[in-house]
C-alpha cells in the first residue's frame, strides 16, 4: 500500500518527465515500426521473388546475390541484441552524420524492425493462395503488377496481427536505447529514480505507464483488425429483400 502511495506521489511530482519520456518512446516505436514495415515490404518482396527456370544465367546469379544480401541483413539484425546494435551503430556513424540520439534511435529501431518485418511479410506473401497470382499473370499482368496490386495487399492484411505485434514489442524494446542517451521513458525513469534515490517506486510508475501504452495499443490494433476483416456486406438489394420476405413467411 505504501508502494502505491509513494509511487503516486512521485508521479504527481515528476509527471512532466514521465510524459516526455512516454512521448519519445511512442515516437520512436511508431516511426520505427512504420519505416521498418516499408523496409520489410521491400526486402520481403525481394525474398519472395523466385529463381525461374526461364531466367538467364546473369539474372539467376543476380537474384541469388540479392537473396544472400537480404539473408545476411536478417541474420545480423535478428541475431544480435538491439542494445549492442544501438551502441555500435550510434558511435560508428556519429563521425559521419553527427546525429542526435533520437534520430539514431529511430534509425536503429527501424532497421532492426525491418529485419523482423521482412520475415513477416515474406510469410504473408507465401500465405496468399498461389491461384491469386496465377490469375493475375493469366490476365497478362507483369510480375511486378501482380505483386503490388494483388499479392501484397492481401499479404499485409494476412500478416496485420504480426505487424501490430512488432509495434507493441517496439514500445517495450525502445527502452534499450537509454544506452545511447535517448530520452525515452526508461531513461527518464532511471534519471528520476537516481536523483531521488527511490528505485522501487519510480520503476513501478514506469511499469504502469508501459502497461498503459502497450495495452491501449493492443486494443486499437484489435479494433483496426476487426474493421479490416469485416468484409463489406454489399449484397444486392434483391438478395436482401428475399431474405426479409423469407423471415416474414416463417413468422406467419
Amino acid at each position: 500500500m505504501e508502494l502505491i502511495t509513494n509511487a503516486f506521489e512521485i508521479f504527481t511530482k515528476y509527471y512532466p518527465s514521465f510524459i516526455l519520456g512516454a512521448k519519445f518512446t511512442l515516437i520512436i516505436a511508431f516511426s520505427g515500426t512504420i519505416i521498418g514495415l516499408f523496409i520489410g515490404l521491400f526486402i520481403g518482396g525481394i525474398r519472395a521473388i523466385k529463381v525461374e527456370s526461364t531466367d538467364s544465367f546473369v539474372a539467376r546469379l543476380f537474384k541469388k546475390f540479392i537473396y544472400i544480401l537480404t539473408e545476411i541483413y536478417i541474420a545480423v539484425f535478428r541475431g544480435t541484441p538491439m542494445m549492442v546494435q544501438a551502441m555500435f551503430i550510434y558511435y560508428a556513424l556519429k563521425p559521419v552524420f553527427n546525429w542526435e540520439p533520437i534520430v539514431a534511435g529511430i534509425f536503429i529501431v527501424s532497421i532492426n524492425t525491418g529485419a523482423y518485418m521482412s520475415e513477416i511479410i515474406r510469410s504473408g506473401i507465401q500465405s496468399v493462395d498461389k491461384g491469386q497470382s496465377e490469375a493475375a499473370r493469366s490476365l497478362g499482368m507483369s510480375s511486378m503488377q501482380t505483386m503490388m496490386l494483388v499479392v501484397l495487399p492481401q499479404a499485409i492484411k494476412n500478416s496485420f496481427p504480426s505487424i501490430g505485434n512488432e509495434f507493441i514489442v517496439n514500445i517495450k524494446d525502445s527502452s534499450v536505447l537509454n544506452v545511447i542517451a535517448v530520452t525515452e521513458l526508461y531513461f527518464q525513469t532511471s534519471s528520476i529514480a537516481g536523483s531521488i534515490f527511490k528505485f522501487e517506486e519510480t520503476f513501478f510508475v514506469s511499469a504502469l505507464i508501459y502497461l498503459v501504452l502497450t495495452y491501449t495499443t493492443s486494443i486499437i490494433l484489435r479494433f483496426i483488425e476487426k474493421r479490416m476483416n469485416n468484409t463489406k456486406t454489399s449484397y444486392p438489394s434483391s438478395q436482401t429483400i428475399d431474405y426479409v420476405v423469407n423471415l416474414e413467411t416463417e413468422t406467419l
Binding site: 525461374e52 527456370s53 526461364t54 493462395d129 491461384g131 491469386q132 496465377e134 490469375a135 493475375a136 499473370r137 493469366s138 490476365l139 497478362g140 499482368m141 507483369s142 503488377q145 496490386l149 494483388v150 495487399p153 492481401q154 492484411k157 468484409t231 463489406k232 456486406t233 454489399s234 449484397y235 444486392p236 438489394s237 434483391s238 438478395q239
Partner: protein, 241 residues
Amino acid sequence: MPLIKIENLHKKFGNLEVLKGINFDINKGSVVCLIGSSGSGKSTMLRCINQLETFDSGDILFNDKSIVDKNANINKYRSKVGMVFQSFNLFNNMTVLKNCTLAQVKVLNRSNEEAKEKALFFLKKVGLLNFANANASTLSGGQKQRVAIARALCMDPEVLLFDEPTSSLDPEMVQEVLSVMKSLANDGLTMIVVTHEMGFAQEVANHVVFMDKGIIVEEGHPDELFNNPKNSRTKEFLNHM
C-alpha cells in the same frame, strides 16, 4: 492456319514425365474438350498453353509465332489467352467490378470508363450485373466462376482456356456455369475445355481429345469418339462414365 499449334510438347516434373510428345492443332472458332483420367496431363498441357507451366521441349505456335521466342512478349500474349481456373481465383480483396476492370486498365491501358463499360457488359452477359459492387469473397461458387469468366472475357481474348471449371461446384451451380459456357460457344469463341462433364463435351464441343498417360490416345468429333471409340483405353474410360 490453326490459331494454336502444339508441336511435340514434352514436360517433366522431376523424374515424372507428364507430357510425352503432344501434337495438336486448335482452329479459330472451335470448341475443344480435353478428357481423360486425373494425372493424364490435360491440365498441364492447358497450363503450358498460357505458360503458367514451362515445357521442356517442343513448341507452341500462336498465330504462327512461337510463344517461347525470346522476342515474344509473354504478358501481351497472355492477355489474348484467357484462363478460367477450377478454384475460380477471383481477387479476394476486390469487388466484382474491380476484378473485371483491373487488368483492362493495367494491361490494355484502357480508361476507367471504358473498362467499366466493358465489365458491366460481360457481367450482364453472365447474369451478375446486380453483384458488380459486391465483394468477390461473398459470392457463391457458381457466381464466382461466372465472374471469373466475365473477367477473362473483358480482355477480349482470342481463345479461352477452361481448367476443370465446374469440378468444385455443386450440381446446380455446374448448370449455371455450363449454360454460360454454351452461350459463349454459340457466339463463336474459341475455347479449350478440360472437363469431366461428358454431357457438355458431347453437346457443345466440335472436337474431343482423349488423353492418357501424357499422350493423345484418340481425338475426333464427339459423336464418333463417344459412340464409336476405336482405342481400347478410350472405351474403358468411357465405360466408367
